[in-house]
């Protein structure tokens, strides 16, 4: 590339001893860097050096392992499958989809009381929320309350972008497939009498999601007003502004919705559904006893997947 014929050669007079080029020393600098003699640590991998390393690693991992073991022992979980594959399951009837909404009840018993905050998850398996086109099928601007995106959602949302010439809010396949079963937990007090366990809806999503990423369309009026000219997702029963009665948990900032929109990494996943807060130090959050779940089975799901409710004791 470079021509070797350059001014230096021509003017200074080239190699090796040109006239007048007296004592122009080309001797390279004798620095550690240029002579590649930088001080260096030279580890040599032999049994002698590596075995102690292994040993130390092992030593470090022992307490870690113990810690993990203790923690996991302290976590108590109870998993209740309400898919209804099993014909004996009370929810079996809902699979046929004749009755909508189909409500089924599942009984279960807590052997031990849950002392701390209890987290209630719903779990799905074989649900590919990480499918490439599924993951893309959303419009973050719309979810962030951008009025233009609200009425003109991103192309990524296709084919759930418009319905009957109205933009869908929230658009996209993720939103469209939102989990919308309703679960209620009851404690059987004595025989037939039961009390509903209060389930906390808020605080299940990331704070930043709820407050930064997801926002309702701007405006002062009621949500319905703000969402006018949009239509509900195809699969949804009710529009987005009717997700909850609480204004702080309605529309795009509905936490169930936000949780759903955070697409799960693996096809078997769970998502936080409710939190049962510990009320006082004296009473366990969920005392041992019989409980039953009231499930409003809406989630349109034609596959054999496992739907389950998981109750996790925080520090039990």
């Amino acid at each position: 590339m470079a021509m070797s014929y350059n001014s230096k050669d021509e003017v200074d007079g080239g190699p090796p001893c040109a006239p007048g080029g007296a004592a122009k020393n080309r001797r390279p600098d004798n620095t550690a860097f240029k002579q590649q003699r930088l001080p260096a640590w030279q580890p040599i991998l032999t049994a002698g050096t590596v075995l102690p390393t292994f040993f130390i690693i092992g030593l470090i991992f022992i307490p870690i392992g113990i810690g993990i073991f203790v923690t996991s022992n302290n976590i108590r979980e109870i998993e209740i499958d309400y898919t209804g594959i099993d014909p004996s399951s009370p929810c079996n009837k809902c699979l046929s989809r004749n009755v909508t909404p189909c409500i089924c009840t599942i009984n279960f018993t807590l052997e031990q009381s849950f002392e701390g905050n209890v987290f209630m998850y719903y779990g799905l398996s074989n649900f590919y929320q990480n499918h490439r086109r599924y993951v893309k099928s959303r419009d973050d601007s719309q979810l962030n309350g951008d009025p233009t995106a609200l009425l003109n959602p991103s192309k990524e949302c296709e084919p759930y972008r418009r319905n009957e010439d109205k933009p869908i809010a929230p658009c996209g396949a993720i939103a469209n497939s939102m989990f919308n079963d309703t679960l209620e937990l009851f404690l059987v007090v004595n025989g037939s009498f039961s009390t509903a366990i209060p389930l906390k809806k808020k605080g299940i999503a990331w704070w930043t999601d709820k407050n930064v990423k997801f926002r309702n369309p701007p405006g002062e009026g009621p949500l319905q007003e703000r969402f006018k000219d949009t239509t509900k997702p195809v699969n949804w029963v009710k529009p987005v502004y009717l997700l909850d009665s609480d204004q702080d948990n309605n529309g795009f900032i509905n936490e169930d919705f936000i949780v759903w929109m955070r697409t799960a990494a693996l096809p078997t996943f769970r998502k936080l559904y409710r939190i049962i807060e510990r009320k006082s130090d004296l009473h366990p959050t969920l005392p041992a006893g019989d409980y039953f779940l009231n499930i409003k089975y809406i989630f349109l799901f034609t596959l054999q997947i496992t739907l389950y409710i998981l109750l996790m004791d925080e520090n039990g």
Binding site: N6, R132, N144, K155, T302
Partner: protein, 1526 residues
């Protein structure tokens, strides 16, 4: 001129040189000549216009229009230098176009473009373009910078000033170089650089001469003579450009520096030929001449200098080829994985589609994709996602690393040569790692192994041999002095010792000694030599070459005939009464003195002789000349011509000018001469001549008494005293001979175009009118001068040439008369001495003469003049003419010139050989000389078996080869270590034997000597395989008398058939083709000019630097780059693996859990720096250890670092690591509420940490740079992640990783996985490495362990317990076996024996021939072997130790050493072997070593392919082996 016969062979055909685009364009033009007219004349009519149009350059023509007054019609290239590739406008398209020549770039751009297709896109389209654009931008920026610096240097040159004649001002005015154009007249003063190719029209030199130095062009520092165009030299007044009306017709611009043809047509229709002697080339410097004027013929890019310049070469290294192959594997892998997941996706889609799964997103129109379409889309998307498998930054990274490697090689102070103040130059930027894989070295001899500093050693004249013992002793002392001066403190003794050398030269010698001593006080010998070189600034004139001690007998004879002739001349006797021998002696020295092209200069006025007197005396000379011209035709019958005028003219001219200074000169000369009487007599004679000479001369009868005017005393400037004269020769041989003649008081004092002056003590100054000089060429292998002898007026031809040629041209002598018989005897004697010289390794030249009768000369002259004036095939005609002249010669004698070995050549060869390199020497020299040099440089061992292959015909060659092969195969029977006591003369060398010595000594290694003719047969298609097979068995191969073409053919053969890496090293033009053919070409920037360097990839100042270049830098470069490439593949595979495993969990939908930003910038930003630092700086073994154990080099030869096997292991490890790094987070986050990117980010972090740790395992030396780079890398990732994850809530669909990283930092699971996964992933590798490092360490690992262990105590001696020879392979290192000794098939492990200091059996019976050789060269051998260095003080640094060893090694050679080893055999039997092991174990202090050494030994034995060496196992074998080691 007379160089190595091979060196004379044609330089590489210029056409083969890479020609620029301009060259190609030029070829398309039709006209084959160019016409040049003066720009000062009005434009000529039509034809020139046409040509002008043909030249194109419209832009320039417009420019011409509005510059009136310069209106020539010649739109030829102007002198503007433009080496830039781009203009502002063309940069972007042109650069992009060039970059897309690289396939990888096209690939990445295509993939990025694929991303724009919505159906398959994986990333944001813009983002996908980023890495490609980044890399293109980096490259473009680099190109831009290079172009800019070229532009700047162009500007600098374009704005140099020069005197150009201006028509307006009617005088020379200063202009920039770039404004010069063809047809301009330029005036150049002394020491100015010539701005364009200029036709010399006028010179301040009265003879129309001009001297130039071509160092810028070819590196030769001697002066070249150029001559004013014929017809202008006779001009009376100063040249006036305005009167120049001639038209010059010359060749199209071409790049042949040594050729220029054309003719000039004067206005009167007369024509004159132009040759290269008339042309001043751009870039040269005017010397020795006050001012010259010339017309520009070629300007700018059409000058020969620029046509010759070519950029650095681009070769593809072997590693890169291998890498490309593996890249193809990666492509295959990519396609496979993509296909796999495409099929998987198809199946998945079919499975879930019919069930109308919620997560299955239909098409935009609501319809659903068919599984097949989905699979196709998935395939394409997968390619985009997994594109990282083909490393986008690999090529750029490799380029960066190589540039850094080149930088470090250039900066190595150990490769810096103080003597020439030059360091190693890397001219090829991208084959550094090839240096680490060389198997074969092809070396030139002259100037490469030897110094190319010729020292006159001995001569034979008319059958008498003069051994010059004193001279030999003198040389021996020089060598001692050399080694002395390496000591820190100079010895007082050496001074006095040297001061007392030879009587008559003592003054000079003492002077020299003092100067050297003073230098030595300040510094090393090299510095002193450099200083002397600088001060003198003359090629080939170190004191060693110039101060020749004459042989007393010969000196006696020379002075005797000098005296006789002087007396005879003085008394006007014909000089016929000299005895034939004495006249031969006289002619011999005259021939030595004048038969050359040496230029005399006086260093007092460095290269400028001001000849004021000549200028003043010009007009009288002119008149005299006219007179003489009229008279001269009568002197030469028939063939009157301009040429014949020269002698008369010159003698008269100089005669007239010398008159005033005669007395002063004689006084000066008196100092030099002991006898003042003859000098005075001479002065009288000359004066007499001067007084009445002009009148009397024409009347002088021809051919009788010597012309008194031919005997002037002195040159116009007082001749400086003898030692002050400097000779500038084109080749060192010439200088050596002239210096030798001077030592015999026969000194060349002046050389002009038409006369040569020789100074003799009694005869005084003899001026020989020089009629012709028939220059040296490689086909004739001789040169001649034709002179008129001033004493006899005979026309004499002195010829000097290679003995093989000259001996055939001698006058056939009749066996009848006594004289003829005598002649015959002389010839046979001379031939014998020639053989002897050759055996001694001297370069021989024959000197002969011929006396021409006037008729003969006249006839020859006629034809010669015709040849000279011919335009077509002039060269051929001239050479025919020369051949006609050079017949019927009378042999005078022969000279032996020694070409000393360069410093450290034997040691370097030994080391290189230990390193497993097979060294072939390809030389044009005679077989005998070559063999001897080979012995001297330890290429051939005394006890080595030499197969000599000299065949006369194809059949004979075939038969010989078969015979040799059969012999070689019989030599290595499985399990016959018994010596076969076949004739002791077996391996010895027979100078003239035409058959290979058939006998066999069993143990010694084989060497092959083959001459050029046989080589030609052996290189035929039918024989080449056999030849190669035979050569492969030999430890060294010596090809003598080979032509440049043969050299390159041999290299090509080895390269293509053996598939081995080859390196060719040479210094001269005859090596160019070989250098170009070899994988790595190394040029030695020595004395022979720069042609070899121009063609080379690396240029070293000396042969010995090859050792460090290969063994240290080659190894490092190879190992660094190999490791880096492997790491790259690992890294990308591992990263892609993570994505691929994820496909199993996302329905093969080509989804990625890693955020696209990370995905795209991971390679480019986060993980690129540490590997670059490691690739540039890592040293697997320190330099000292590499040099101490050259066998470590073999790892590169065997490609141990980067084999296909290593590659696949590496890939497997990558797959495993990616499995670990994927599934640990998978298990950790299974059935959790983690979203895709919250889960992917830890995986990215884990991958990064794994990469860094992996690199940590691979990095052998951790400098602060490594730490910084790794820290920076990790920090950069986390910083970018933090910033990126908090910058925008909605900007990065679809991942939208807002606050992910921040959330993760609050999650202990994140830290836990980041800790566990990398460690788990790397455990197997670490475990394996450790296991291998301690159980089966490779040689490199052992060397590293050793080096580390011994590094705390600095002056270490690795493996010293094994004996004082570092070369002796220690038992745990390599197998010291000849290639032939092991199985023929074992090409890989066949390691040429690395220094058996005398195999016991071989030397048990010293052969008779051996003895005779020994006798003949005792002195030189002894001195030569002592050369490398003396025992030095306790300055026990590592290099010091080496030099000490190198001294010890040669001392051990020969019979004594082998005898001692024979004696020691019983004592050092197996017990010694075992004890040595325990000794090592004890010393090392670590059990590993002894165990590993045992193990390594065993392993080696096991791994030796083919039939195992017979000595393996049994006690006898062990003993023998032990003997080898000690």
């Amino acid at each position: 001129m007379e160089r190595d016969p091979a060196a004379g062979e044609d330089p590489a055909p210029p056409d083969r040189r890479p020609q620029g685009r301009r060259g190609r364009r030029r070829r398309r033009r039709e006209s084959r000549t160019r016409t040049v007219r003066s720009n000062l004349q009005p434009p000529p009519p039509a034809s020139a216009h046409e040509e002008g149009a043909a030249q194109g350059a419209r832009r320039r023509r417009r420019w011409w229009w509005w510059r009136p007054g310069r209106g020539g019609a010649q739109h030829l290239a102007d002198n503007r230098l433009k080496t830039t590739k781009y203009t502002l406008l063309s940069f972007v398209p042109k650069n992009l176009f060039e970059q897309f020549h690289r396939l990888a770039n096209v690939y990445f751009v295509l993939i990025a473009l694929l991303n724009f297709v919505p159906a398959v896109n994986a990333f944001q389209p813009g983002l996908a373009l980023a890495p490609v654009l980044f890399i293109l931008a980096v490259t473009a920026f680099k190109d831009l910078w290079e172009d800019y610096s070229r532009h700047r240097s162009d500007q600098e040159i374009n704005h140099l000033g020069c005197l150009v004649f201006s028509r307006e001002e009617k005088q020379y005015v200063n202009r920039f170089w770039r404004e010069i154009r063809v047809g301009d007249f330029v005036r150049l003063r002394c020491n100015e650089i010539i701005p364009a190719d200029v036709l010399l029209l006028s010179s301040s030199n009265p003879d129309g001469l001009c001297h130039i130095e071509t160092a810028n062009l070819d590196g030769e520092t001697n002066l070249k003579r150029r001559q004013v165009v014929r017809g202008f030299s006779e001009l009376v007044s100063e040249f006036d450009p305005l009167t120049f009306t001639s038209v010059i017709e010359c060749e199209r611009p071409n790049n042949d520096l040594s050729r220029f043809r054309g003719c000039i047509t004067h206005e009167n229709g007369k024509k004159a030929g132009l040759h290269k002697e008339n042309l001043l080339l751009r870039g040269c410097t005017v010397r020795n001449t006050e001012a010259v004027v010339g017309i520009v013929i070629y300007a700018g890019h059409e000058t020969k200098a620029l046509l010759n310049s070519s950029g650095p070469r681009y070769k593809r290294s072997m590693l890169e080829r291998q890498m490309n192959c593996d890249v193809l594997w990666c492509v295959l892998l990519l396609v496979c994985t993509c296909l796999f997941s495409a099929v998987g996706h198809g199946v998945w889609v079919r499975r879930y589609q019919e069930k109308k799964a919620l997560f299955d997103v239909p098409e935009a129109d609501g319809g659903s994709l068919s599984p097949v379409t989905a699979a196709v889309y998935s395939f394409l998307t997968m390619i985009i996602v997994l594109q990282v498998l083909i490393p986008v930054s690999l090529y750029v990274s490799i380029e960066i690393v190589k540039v850094c490697q080149v930088y470090f090689i250039n900066q190595d102070v150990d490769l810096y040569d103080e003597e020439t103040d030059s360091q190693l130059q890397c001219r090829a930027l991208n084959i550094t790692e090839d240096l680490g894989q060389i198997r074969y070295i092809f070396s030139d001899k002259t100037g490469t192994l030897t110094e190319n500093r010729m020292v006159f050693r001995r001569c034979t004249v008319s059958g008498m041999e003069y051994s010059h013992d004193a001279n030999a002793q003198r040389l021996a002392r020089y060598q001692e002095a050399d080694s002395d001066s390496e000591e820190p403190v100079p010895r007082g003794g050496s001074l006095s010792q040297r001061g007392s050398i030879g009587s008559h030269q003592s003054v000079r010698l003492v002077h020299r000694t003092q100067s050297t001593r003073s230098h030595r006080r300040t510094g090393s010998r090299a510095e002193a030599r450099r200083a002397s070189m600088l001060s003198k600034h003359t090629a080939f004139s170190s004191p060693m070459e110039t101060d020749i001690t004459p042989d007393p007998k010969l000196l006696e004879k020379v002075s005797e005939c000098d005296r006789c002739l002087a007396v005879a001349r003085h008394q006007q006797h014909p000089p016929a009464h000299l005895s034939p021998e004495l006249s031969d002696v006289f002619d011999f020295f005259i021939a030595l003195t004048i038969c050359n092209t040496v230029v005399v200069t006086a260093p007092d006025q460095p290269r400028q002789k001001v000849r004021v007197r000549f200028e003043q005396l010009k007009s009288p000379v002119k008149t005299l000349e006219g007179l003489l011209r009229r008279l001269s035709p009568s002197r030469l019958t028939g063939c009157g011509s301009a040429a014949s005028l020269f002698p008369a003219k010159s003698s008269s001219k100089s005669g007239s000018s010398f008159l005033p200074v005669l007395s002063a000169d004689s006084a000066l000369l008196g100092l030099e001469e002991k006898l003042s009487q003859p000098a005075q007599a001479q002065a009288v004679a000359s004066e007499g001549c001067g007084e009445d000479g002009w009148a009397s001369q024409p009347c002088a009868p021809e051919g009788c008494a010597p012309d008194p005017c031919a005997l002037e005393r002195a040159p116009p400037p007082p001749p400086p005293k003898d030692p002050e004269l400097r000779y500038e020769a084109e080749s060192p041989d010439e200088a050596a001979l002239v210096y030798a003649a001077r030592a015999y008081n026969c000194a060349l004092v002046q050389r002009l175009q038409d006369r040569v002056a020789v100074q003799l003590p009694h005869l005084g100054r003899l001026t020989f009118p020089l009629l012709h000089t028939l220059g040296f060429d490689s086909t004739r292998k001789r040169m001649s001068v034709v002179v008129r002898h001033p004493l006899t007026q005979e026309i004499q031809v002195y010829t000097k040439g290679a003995d093989s040629v000259v001996m055939d041209l001698l006058l056939p002598c009749s066996p009848d008369d006594a004289r003829g018989r005598h002649q015959k005897k002389i010839r046979s004697k001379t031939q014998n001495y020639l053989n002897l010289y050759a055996v001694e390794g001297l370069r021989t030249l024959c000197i002969a003469k011929r006396v021409l009768s006037k008729e003969e000369y006249a006839c020859w002259l006629q034809s010669h003049l015709e040849a000279e004036s011919a335009v077509d095939n002039r060269e051929e005609l001239l050479s025919q003419s020369a051949i006609r002249l050079e017949t019927n010669l009378h042999l005078l004698g022969a000279t032996g010139v020694e070409d000393r070995l360069q410093d450290g050549v034997p040691e370097t060869i030994a080391k290189l050989r230990q390193a497993g390199l097979q060294i072939w020497v390809l030389t044009g020299d005679k077989q005998e000389t070559a063999v001897n040099i080979a012995h001297a440089c330890k290429l051939l061992d005394q006890d080595e078996e030499v197969i000599t292959l000299n065949a006369d015909s194809q059949e004979a060659c075939a038969a010989l080869l078969d015979q040799c092969l059969a012999y070689v195969q019989a030599r290595t029977p499985p399990g016959a270590p018994e010596k076969t006591p076949a004739g002791g003369a077996g391996g010895r060398f027979y100078p003239l034997l035409r058959l290979p010595p058939e006998a066999a000594a069993p143990r010694p290694c084989l060497s092959l000597v083959i001459d050029g003719r046989s080589l030609a047969y052996a290189l035929e298609k039918s024989l080449e395989d056999k030849f190669l097979f035979l050569a492969k068995q030999c430890r060294s191969v010596l090809c003598c008398r080979s032509t440049p073409l043969q050299k390159s053919m041999v290299v090509k053969l080895v390269r293509s058939k053996l598939k081995a890496m080859t390196l060719a090293i040479g210094d001269g033009a005859n090596d160019v083709s070989m250098i170009q053919v070899a994988d790595v070409g190394v040029g030695i920037s020595g004395q022979e000019g720069m042609q070899a360097v121009m063609a080379s990839d690396f240029a070293v100042p000396r042969f010995r630097y090859l050792e460090r270049l290969l063994i240290v830098h080659g190894h490092w470069c190879y190992s660094r780059l190999a490791n880096m490439v492997l790491y790259f593949f690992y890294k990308n595979t591992m990263f892609v693996g993570l994505l691929f495993w994820f496909q199993f969990f996302c329905g093969f939908s080509a989804s990625a859990m890693i955020d696209q930003w990370y995905l795209i910038f991971f390679n480019l930003l986060f993980s690129s720096l540490p590997q670059l630092v490691t690739g540039v700086l890592d040293k697997d073994v320190p330099a000292e250890a590499l040099l101490a154990q050259p066998q470590l080099y073999r790892s590169g030869q065997n490609m141990e670092e980067y084999r296909p096997r290593t590659f696949w292991w590496n890939m497997a490890d990558a797959a495993f690591q990616s499995l670990v790094c994927f599934f640990i987070p998978y298990l950790a986050y299974y059935d959790s509420d983690a979203d895709v990117f919250t889960w992917g980010t830890p995986i990215t972090a884990i991958a990064l940490l794994t990469f860094l740790l992996h690199l940590g395992i691979e990095t052998k030396t951790w400098t602060w740079l490594n730490w910084t780079a790794c820290g920076f890398s990790a920090l950069l990732f986390f910083t970018v992640a933090f910033v990126y994850n908090s910058s925008c809530a909605t900007c990065y669909p679809p991942s939208n990783p807002y606050w992910t990283m921040q959330t993760l930092t609050g999650d202990p699971l994140f830290y836990l996985t980041c800790l566990i996964a990398p460690i788990t992933a790397l455990l197997p590798r670490l475990f394996f490495k450790a296991l291998q490092g301690s159980l089966f360490p490779t040689q490199l690992q052992r060397a590293r362990q050793l080096a580390k262990r011994s590094s705390p105590r600095k002056p270490r001696a690795p493996r010293d317990p094994r004996g004082p020879l570092p070369g002796a392979p220690s038992p745990d290192t390599s197998e010291p076996s000849c290639p032939g000794a092991s199985a023929p098939a074992s090409q890989d492990d066949a390691s040429p024996g690395s220094w058996p200091p005398g195999a016991p059996e071989a030397s048990e019976e010293p052969s008779p021939v051996d003895v005779s050789v020994d006798v003949s060269v005792p002195l030189r051998e002894a001195s030569g072997r002592r050369a490398p260095g003396r025992p030095s003080g306790p300055r026990a640094a590592v290099p010091e130790r080496r030099s000490g060893d190198s001294r010890a090694k040669p001392a051990r050679s020969g019979r004594t050493a082998s005898l001692s080893s024979v004696f020691s055999l019983p004592h050092f039997g197996s017990p010694g072997w075992i004890s040595s092991l325990s000794l090592v174990g004890g010393l090392g202090g670590v059990w590993q070593l002894s165990r590993s050494s045992l193990h390594g030994d065993k392993r080696e034995a096991e791994f030796l392919p083919g039939p195992p060496p017979p000595r393996d196992g049994d006690l006898c074998g062990l003993g023998q082996r032990a003997a080898d080691y000690f």
